[in-house]
Symmetry: C2
Subunit: 109 residues, 2 copies
């Protein structure tokens, strides 16, 4: 949970997905990709939730960091498996965060 502020401007990649019924290796690869993302230059944080659909929002310092992550070799293989096996549908939106607010109970930020 990204309960910190990252100082705009920075970038968010909004990944929304509907899973298929096949989950061969899905969880192992998801975790591996998360660990790999965290090691990338310019990675700031990630939030993820899944109920009927899944939403993962990852945060990056700049566009160069997003582009480098997109073409990372291991990530590229995972993206290919995502299209072939794991997802019936997904969307990717790249957005520039202009402002942000945090609320924490019993705490004035």
């Amino acid at each position: 949970m990204t309960n910190t502020l990252f100082s705009p401007p920075y970038y968010a990649v909004i990944f929304t997905s509907v899973r298929s019924e096949y989950d061969e290796n899905y969880h192992e690869v998801s975790l591996a990709m998360l660990e790999l993302a965290k090691q990338q230059h310019g990675f700031l944080g990630v939030d993820s939730a899944r109920s009927e659909i899944g939403i993962t929002v990852s945060y990056w310092r700049d566009e160069a960091a997003i582009r480098a992550w997109k073409v990372n070799a291991d990530h590229w293989i995972a993206q290919k498996k995502g299209r072939e096996i794991w997802y019936d549908f997904y969307s990717v939106r790249v957005a520039k965060v202009e402002r942000e607010y945090l609320f924490e109970k019993d705490k004035i930020l």
Copy 2:
């Protein structure tokens, strides 16, 4: 599920939250706010998922639409109850969507 493209540039409001243990009226008000948001000028769509945390991403044509929604009287009351009762933590990020991609199985978009 927003399985359509909205033609960038447009805006995304990324709302990430941790619920408190109190859910008095939470679901009724959530649904009412969703219906109210859909009626707002400039509203494009919304995606929502909740597991350990909740993520709701709403999409808007421009910043003016977001500002109008933020100060909507009924929504303002719901925001106040959110801080007082429903949420231990939340963050709001306003971001300008610059590009988007969709993948749908067995369909070339």
